[in-house]
Symmetry: C2
Subunit: 205 residues, 2 copies
DNA sequence: AGATTGAACAATCTGTTGATTATTCAGAAA
DNA sequence: TTTCTGAATAATCAACAGATTGTTCAATCT
């Protein structure tokens, strides 16, 4: 079995090189197979299809990113608002820059999100787990309140949808997106209803 | 000039019929022209092109909708939260049902939003004006607080993006969208930070 | 037996052709 | 002169053939 995983890994590495040099559409299964010194048919013992190789690559790099995002979400020396800020901004900047600078990455993102909608759902579920951790810790410290944290996390994602795959949904530049995210974050954290924290003193006669 | 406006109107009516019966792509300028008993070339004295006819139709019906939305936003017997709720939900339900029940309307919406991105911006600007009215009135009554109302309106739109053209961005059903909008609305109104309104009494010794 | 191949098959892409149709504009009608 | 026409033009679309390529599987190898 260790051998099998090794081969899987080899295939992923070969495909990663091809995809990033020539793009997803322009690499053939035959080429990937030759790079691994095997026949095209043999690839199918390790992956159901071409798209699944792409998905495996995406999963791998995404999981690395996720690790870092979790660190931001639970950074001990920052308050909840800062941590939420860091989390959302890191996500925005990271994906924006990746898709902006690398047309191959953009192609892969487009293909996967079109052909494998469940992949996007899986990513959202992962991030939601991080958000719930953040909310839990925030409530413990009395910084945020939220009865149903799972639901609240979902709503935060809903409200920040626009910033998750920026260039698939709008043509805004990064600075404009950052300005908007800043505003939405403020809205989410403070809300529209007046806070009475500013005047906790008695004011009635 | 009144005559010219009349002809414009006649063209719009003819196109409206064709578009809604056979779809935008399947109606030709020649057909619209014959319906108006004129030559195809003559249409271009009234509209720069086919898309502009579609845009004129969309503008017309949208402006009627807008009238009603404004009424909801300033309904005198409701509080700010309810008005914001009604406004956003009416928008969601209206566009969802229109696009869901009428494939022709869906086609037109798709074409216009792809080919005329400024049209969507114009719609957003209109709705933003209504939101600002709502926020102004809400602040007057002490229900909401927001320093920069224009900016806040923009952020509300940003956070509720997903519900504006529901079926262009997700495959969610109306009930699920409504549930999500309800949650996002709560988030926007209440925020995550604890409100001290629940205990306005003295609590320090 | 299980692993691997590579030819066969099916699905998709590419380029091309012909037709359809949006748009223009020289000239006719008013 | 101004308004309108309709043939000419250019852009887009539909359909098709041929080639390319993802996928399968009977046969081969280990």
């Amino acid at each position: 079995m260790a051998e099998k995983d090794n081969v899987r890994c080899q295939i992923i590495e070969a495909a990663k090189k091809r995809f990033s040099h020539f793009g997803y559409a322009k690499t053939t299964m035959a080429e990937v197979a030759t790079d691994c010194s095997m026949s095209p048919g043999n690839l199918y013992r390790f992956f159901p299809g071409k798209l699944d190789i792409a998905e495996a690559i995406a999963t791998e790099t995404y999981e690395r990113d996720l690790e870092y995002l979790r660190k931001l979400a639970v950074a001990p020396n920052k308050n909840a608002r800062e941590r939420l800020h860091d989390l959302l901004f890191e996500e925005l900047r990271r994906t924006y820059n990746k898709l902006e600078s690398d047309p191959r990455a953009f192609e892969m993102a487009t293909v996967i999100s079109r052909e494998r909608p469940t992949f996007a759902n899986w990513m959202l579920a992962n991030e939601r787990r991080i958000l719930v951790e953040l909310l839990d810790e925030a409530e413990r410290r009395g910084e945020f309140v939220a009865e149903d944290k799972e639901l609240t996390a979902e709503m935060i994602q809903s409200a920040t949808m626009k910033f998750r795959y920026p260039q698939l949904w709008s043509k805004l530049t990064l600075p404009k997106l950052e300005r908007e995210l800043e505003g939405v974050l403020k809205l989410i954290v403070d809300g529209l209803c007046p806070h009475h924290a500013q005047r906790p003193q008695v004011n009635a006669a």
